[in-house]
């Protein structure tokens, strides 16, 4: 089973060319406001930047004791993983970069799962890094092996 998700980029650009008086007055009276970005395809992260961010990200994912959790459709914990069978940065072409995680459960456990949570650790803080919600429930029988690969991309980068 292999799943992937894509995260598109949003961006907002504001260009203002003001007189110094206008600008200084505004700084005094208004200050800066946060903007609500909109989709704009003329701006982009570079693939290099996202790639290095993902490289940093897999270091965080490699750190916690419990690296992944499978959860049942009701959200309850059913299986934890202290090691990953694969953790890497991947690209498909020059416009994206992603984190690939693969876990294999060859135990004789039997369960049904819907969610895969992948954890991270920075300093002493542990937090969920990636959560995959599968589009259906999957059941592993005691005589079966669960082999799960998830890839999470940031798309729309520029080379």
């Amino acid at each position: 089973m292999q799943k992937y998700v894509e995260h598109k980029q949003n961006v907002e650009i504001i260009v203002r060319i003001l007189s110094r008086e206008e600008w200084e007055k505004e700084q005094r009276e208004l200050g800066h406001k946060d903007v609500k970005p909109i989709v704009n395809e003329k701006a982009s992260f570079t693939q290099t930047f996202i790639y290095w961010l993902m490289e940093y990200g897999i270091g965080l994912i490699a750190a916690p004791t419990i690296k992944a959790e499978l959860r049942a459709p009701d959200g309850s914990l059913i299986k934890t993983f202290t090691s990953l069978n694969e953790l890497s940065v991947v690209t498909r072409d020059t416009t994206d970069a992603g984190i690939k995680v693969r876990i294999i459960d060859s135990s004789s456990d039997s369960y049904t799962f819907r969610y895969l949570n992948i954890n991270s650790k920075r300093y002493e803080e542990e937090a969920m890094a990636i959560r995959h919600t599968f589009t259906q429930n999957y059941t592993k029988g005691s005589d079966q092996i669960a082999d799960i690969t998830v890839i999470t991309y940031v798309t729309g980068c520029v080379a």
Binding site: K36, S44, T46, T133, F134
Partner: protein, 125 residues
């Protein structure tokens, strides 16, 4: 529809890391004219931060960059590039091409805000 990164991860740790890499660049941003010539370099940014905004019950996370030129310089610009530093080398991190070429007269201030990020992170619960 599948969803991936949580806001905890990409909205905070990753973005803060990315911001630190941008902050480490010697030249943090450049403006280019239509012909691709460098018309302005910024060693400092007026703003470099990350913001999180909820949209349709999802979290969106952004890096926000503001460059400000209060100089008397006159130039035209069509593209802005923000740089980052990694392993002693500097690379473009963000590229934006404006729809039109803008002109900065000597008696005007230019302020450019770029907010760029990832949409629809884990739903807000």
């Amino acid at each position: 529809m599948l969803r991936g990164f949580s806001s905890v991860f990409i909205g905070d740790l990753l973005w803060r890391h990315g911001i630190s890499k941008i902050n480490n660049a010697t030249i943090k941003a450049r403006l280019f004219d239509e012909a691709g010539n460098i018309v302005k370099e910024f060693e400092t940014l007026n703003t470099l931060d990350f913001i999180e905004l909820p949209v349709d019950n999802y979290k969106n996370s952004y890096i926000k960059v503001v460059v400000l030129d209060t100089s008397n310089a006159t130039y035209n610009f069509k593209r802005i590039v923000v740089y980052f530093r990694y392993n002693d080398e500097e690379y473009p991190a963000i590229i934006y091409d404006f729809d039109a070429q803008y002109t900065k007269p000597s008696d005007r201030v230019v302020e450019i805000t770029v907010s760029i990020g990832i949409e629809r992170l884990i739903p807000i619960t």
